[in-house]
């Protein structure tokens, strides 16, 4: 299989289990934050302060070194039924002042082509046999390169610790044949864990189902193996544009452009050498 469809094999795992991931169906998320809590508890992720955001029920702000699952809350002034927006069912007059909630539990995408992994200079970030992306905390020296490399703003440095941290997709639990803590704790099965192929099939069915029911705003995000990161290991069913949830609409692994960048750096180095030789004459 080409590397794009079998990242574990691409990383050198000769025999390995099926690629696993998350399908987060935000249409049934109730914003309970059980995933955030379960993740913190299982992974012993430290407290990173209680900062009142004043914007919504979301006081954990976004993914970072100490927040590996993040539940977004979006209040919108539009009729609950008209989830398709302009293209959705006509809203009854006078309903415009109503509120709809969007809730979504965000997580590391475990990209097929992971920028954090590509740019890590120490090899601390690696591809597991489950095709997930994990930081080896005993190797990371806190160079911070992965932080601006991630197109989703997932991985971050823990200040008092110096190293970077992010979702491991519960690598330790996977090794013991268990599902990740967040999926286990999710009371509505908004977070579904399993082999990625199966999740993609299930998500396609769910999307079709919702669209038949008139929820035209529903769309899958991160499920396409042809997108800028080669498809995400953790993908989503969203009810609005990705940027509304704080997700980039068209993320790209910038190492895609690396061959061109090295070529240009080589030319620039030659130009510099030429200029120096010309100047020295």
């Amino acid at each position: 299989m080409p590397v794009g469809t079998d990242p574990a094999a691409g990383a050198g795992w000769e025999s390995h289990p099926a690629r696993v991931g998350f399908f987060t169906d935000t249409s049934i998320c109730i914003g309970c934050k059980a995933c955030e809590v379960a993740c913190k508890e299982w992974n012993q992720v430290p407290d990173d302060g209680l900062k009142f955001s004043g914007m919504s029920f979301d006081n954990s702000w976004g993914l970072g070194a100490d927040t590996w699952r993040h539940v977004a809350f979006i209040e919108q002034r539009r009729p609950v039924a008209a989830t398709g927006g302009a293209a959705g069912p006509a809203s009854p007059p006078g309903a415009a002042g109503e509120l709809r909630w969007l809730m979504s539990s965000d997580v590391c995408k475990h990209c097929t082509h992971a920028a954090c992994l590509d740019v890590c200079p120490t090899g601390a970030l690696f591809r597991t046999e489950f095709a997930t992306v994990v930081v080896q905390s005993d190797v990371c020296n806190g160079c911070g390169y992965c932080v601006p490399a991630c197109p989703y703003g997932v991985i971050d440095q823990r200040k008092e610790d110096g190293r970077v941290w992010k979702c491991t997709l519960c690598y330790d639990r996977l090794k013991d044949g268990m599902e990740p803590a967040c999926a286990k704790a999710c009371p509505t099965q908004s977070i579904q864990f399993g082999p990625l192929d199966q999740l993609r099939e299930r998500a396609a069915g769910r999307l079709e189902d919702l669209q038949e029911r008139g929820v035209t705003g529903a769309r899958l995000y991160g499920d396409d193996p042809h997108d800028g990161v080669g498809g995400a290991g953790a993908f989503f069913l969203l009810l609005d544009d990705p940027e509304v949830y704080g997700l980039p609409p068209d993320p790209v692994v910038t190492t895609r452009d690396l061959p061109s960048m090295w070529k240009r750096a080589g030319l620039a180095a030659l130009a510099l050498a030429g200029a120096v030789i010309a100047a020295a004459r």
Binding site: Y145, M261, A280
Partner: protein, 336 residues
């Protein structure tokens, strides 16, 4: 920058003096999509400058001191020695800054754990592992006597080390352009085509400045030529880069980055002008050199801060990606 080209969806065209809201985009309560780079400005922007200065200085020192039996009067010890010492000092400080910036400085040696062509930082670490000892050794051999029988080997050894540093120098000065461009930071990745050339120009300008600052006028002609060429190229490439970058170019013009880059351009232009005018005046040459060095340093800090600003505002992530998808947001932004 011009407002040419379609903005996403309901975007308005903006004039320079526009007071209307800018092109609309949707976001999660205005929070950034990306995590802010954790690099410390003094360490990393400082390294971008010092590494460039060191690399180009070593290259110039090697070019000036090499060559088949230079005719009398063409040997320029007054230029070579300060360039070598400048390079050694700059790369020494760079290594300190790079280790200091690590979250776990004691684990700096993990940089040598693997060689990863997909990581510009890994490639850079290996380049530095060749360059830094060569550059520091070249300078050290000027002052540290070799013991006993090794004495006669000093000059050949220094020449060899200087050559290694001179050959690796251009790589040190340019790989950093790849280093910052290979990120999701809109103002850095958006300039990936020009960034290595921008940094190479800035490094040339700095090395020329160092030569003008330290060498007597009868020896500094190569530094003068390199400094002026680098300055002109830096000003030109910077403009080309911003013109081609799209929306994120705004971050090079606004706020702290804008102030730094405007000062950088003024200093670089003034330095180049003085370098051309002051061929016979030591004082003018010193001023020219200081201007070029300061201009190069502020350029790197400006680029650094433009990147941070572009990561902190979701507009620079969301809007260009919307455009690349060729689609509009499905709803207008929420009225607040």
């Amino acid at each position: 920058m011009s407002a040419a080209g379609p903005r996403s969806g309901r975007g308005r065209r903006r004039g320079p003096a526009s007071v209307v809201p800018e092109a609309e985009f949707r976001s999660y309560y205005g929070l950034p999509v990306l995590n802010r780079p954790t690099w410390k400005p003094l360490d990393i922007a400082g390294y971008l400058f010092l590494g460039g200065l060191a690399g180009a200085s070593s290259a110039l020192a090697a070019a000036v001191s090499t060559g088949a039996a230079p005719p009398p009067g063409r040997v320029r010890p007054g230029l070579v020695a300060p360039l070598r010492f400048g390079a050694a000092g700059a790369i020494g400080l760079s290594l300190v800054a790079l280790v200091h910036d690590l979250g776990r400085p004691a684990r700096f040696y993990n940089m040598m754990r693997v060689f990863k062509p997909s990581s510009p930082m890994s490639v850079g670490s290996w380049i530095l592992s060749v360059y830094a000892p060569a550059a520091i050794g070249t300078a050290a051999l000027d002052v540290v006597p070799l013991p006993g029988r090794l004495g006669p080997a000093r000059r050949p050894l220094q020449h060899a080390a200087g050559l290694v540093a001179g050959l690796a120098g251009p790589a040190v000065a340019t790989y950093t352009g790849v280093l910052i461009s290979d990120t999701a930071v809109p103002a850095w990745h958006g300039g990936y085509r020009e960034m290595p050339f921008y940094f190479a120009s800035s490094a040339s300008s700095a090395a020329g400045g160092l030569g003008l600052l330290t060498a007597p006028v009868d020896a500094s002609a190569p530094a003068r030529r390199l400094g002026v060429a680098g300055a002109v190229a830096e000003l030109a490439v910077g403009r080309v880069m911003r013109a081609r970058m799209g929306l994120a170019a705004e971050t090079f013009e606004r706020g702290r980055a804008g102030r730094l880059l405007r000062a950088a351009e003024a200093l670089t232009a003034a330095g180049a002008g003085l370098a051309l005018a002051g061929r016979r005046s030591r004082a003018v040459s010193v001023a020219a050199g200081a201007g070029l060095l300061a201009g190069s340093a502020l350029t790197r800090f400006g680029v650094f801060h433009a990147g941070v600003a572009s990561a902190e505002d979701p507009r620079y992530t969301v809007q260009p990606q919307r455009e690349s998808l060729g689609s509009r947001p499905s709803e207008p932004p929420e009225p607040c």
